[in-house]
């Protein structure tokens, strides 16, 4: 165990996986010489050389598209999209291609590709750097969608994603890169995809969240504890596959739930969580499920983002309202 920030854990995981499997290659904008604009790929070029760590021309479509070809050639590509908002430039290769390599070829080919991309607010980035697109990706069958919320998970889930035979969108919270710091197991460490993580126990209400919002929910639960409210926190970790059982179990235990997401409300993944609760735990509900979201507006300019990203206060208030119902 060693305490690390999330970005350090990601870097460690990349080192470990490249060491472990020589088919792993890292490609993207500024990932090699510069070590990534957040240093996530720092040191890889020195360790593994220019054949396996490659600065590509500035074209997200070609980064994802060429990864598919590399995969069929027998590599295990880990492309980086510098910021998730620019994945839109590659949506045709992600949704129309990457997600369907196996399906289209009926299993002849596969795409064991992990597309890494940072996203999320709170660090005053320029436009299109912070947008939360996980719901759009989760609506694309064939992709797995993974979002770590701790440094340890970042390491273990990234390892699982890279080793997974299917394409994974691995979304890293910008705000968590340096702000999240925890104990990370050394050596081979894999966190299986599809298993939610119980962050905190409680019986009055459950917060369901992913990525950095897990931290916001956790802090909200600490606030609520002061009022004598036991709030459970469930980190979904992966949206696809979804740990339906863990969601149902938590709702059954608590009877009340608040889903917290940074994405816009309309058709964000919180809606899917609510629909899943409706399917699986309807009769346990003592109150409507609350959702706390970003608003239905484009991600705003820096001086407004604190009014956009769900705050601890907003989450606590939603919990209180849910408890009153």
């Amino acid at each position: 165990m060693a305490e690390m920030t999330m970005v350090e854990a990601i870097n460690a995981s990349l080192h470990y996986e490249m060491e472990r499997d020589e088919r792993v290659v890292v490609l993207g904008e500024d990932v090699a010489v510069n070590g990534g604009v957040f240093r996530a790929t720092e040191g890889l070029l020195d360790h593994f050389g220019g054949d396996r760590v490659v600065d590509t021309p500035l074209a997200e479509g070609a980064i994802v598209g060429s990864s598919i070809g590399l995969a069929v050639a027998g590599m295990v590509p880990v492309p980086e999209i510098q910021f998730l908002g620019f994945a839109y430039q590659a949506f045709h290769q992600i949704a129309g291609q990457l997600a369907r390599v196996r399906y289209r070829s009926r299993g002849r080919f596969e795409a064991p590709i992990t597309v890494r991309a940072p996203f999320g607010g709170g660090v005053r980035t320029p436009e299109l750097h912070s947008d939360s697109l996980e719901a759009q990706l989760a609506n694309i069958p064939g992709l797995k969608v993974v979002l770590p919320a701790s440094a340890a998970d970042a390491k273990g889930l990234l390892a699982a994603s890279i080793r997974d035979p299917d394409p994974v969108m691995f979304l890293e919270p910008l705000r968590g890169y340096r702000a999240l710091r925890d104990d990370v197991p050394e050596g081979d460490y894999v966190v299986p995809l599809g298993k939610a993580r119980s962050v905190r126990d409680g019986d009055d209400l459950v917060f369901i969240a992913w990525s950095y919002m897990v931290e916001v929910a956790r802090r909200a639960s600490v606030e609520l504890e002061k009022e004598g409210v036991g709030a459970r926190v469930l980190d979904l970790r992966t949206l696809v596959p979804l740990d339906t059982e863990a969601i149902a179990e938590a709702v059954e235990a608590c009877g009340r739930a608040v889903v917290v997401q940074e994405a816009p409300e309309t058709c964000g993944f919180a809606a899917e969580v609510i629909a899943t609760i409706n399917d699986e735990a309807f009769y346990s509900l003592e109150a409507p499920v609350a959702r706390v979201s970003g608003w239905d507006v484009p991600y705003p300019a820096g001086l407004l983002e604190d009014h956009y990203v769900p705050s601890i206060d907003r989450v606590v208030a939603a919990a209180r309202r849910t408890l009153e119902k």
């Binding site: 021309p57 050639a73 009926r106 596959p241």
Partner: protein
Amino acid sequence: MTLTEPRAQLHQECDLSDSELQGLLREMISARLNSTRCFSLQRQGRSGTMAPIDGAEALVVGSAAALDPERDWVLPQYREPLGLSRFGEEVVARTVRYMRGDPAGGFIPEPIRVWPQQIALAAQLPQAVGLAWGMKLKREEGVVLTYFGDGASSEGDFYEAGNLAGVLEAPVIFMCNNNSWAISTPARRQTAAASFAEKAAAFGFPGEKIDGCSVLEVYAATRRARERALAGEGPTLIEAVAYRLGPHTTADDLTRYVPAEEIAEAREHDPIDLFRAELQEVGLWSEELEAETVKEADERMDRMIAAAEAVVIEPDVIFEHVYQRPTPRLERQRAELLEGLSEDD
């Protein structure tokens, strides 16, 4: 030989044996026949939308002939697979199934180095570059050839792929089927560039414009490009100028936009007729060979169609190959589908 000087030179460059030359014509005739048969299947309601190959036979057969099926890869768009039997008859058989709407049509078995057809225009191009790049990294001796149309060349994917290939010096051949039309849009409205070949200037590798109706010219150009690639000299863009002799697909009515004279004139340059005449001239083709070729091709199609139509498709294969192992949610959905079907009974 009674060929004109340039033709004779071309034959010399190609250096193909008599039976190889005959083989090319055979494949071209079969390709057209495959396509015509699938077209009429669609008309009979026995198959789905398909894009006839008519006019592209020289460029498909000629380029495939210059490749090594054991080392090289082909990434088609959608119009070419019925002409790719050089890579294995199974490519044609699977394409017949594909057009019928059978998901297994996308499965082209090992060791055939042909990808399933690509419906999204130009989307295969960056993938071809990645594959060639991977082969280069693994020091495999081989090249990747990918087909795309004059219309597809307007997509950003074409450019991103070409540019990346140039930087990587990837062993890839971009084969542009300039058949004058993208559905109803004429090639002159796709681009103001002097030619499609010219676009290679944007990538820093050679572009060559050739007669796509001459199977030997296509063969020779592809072979040169392949040699360049294997020598580590990087990609080539080939613009093969042909003409779409049929409608865009079974769903299209070309009389709405193609001038009658234009297509009539193009038919004068039918790649099959041209090559047949050439082989006849040098005594390598006869009515018997023609009849035999057609008969064989027809019988092969009979078999393939019968096999395709005999396939029983289980509804729940819909859930296969989404992931290597289905997610719990997919399992639940599969159960739902099967339950619904059993209720229907």
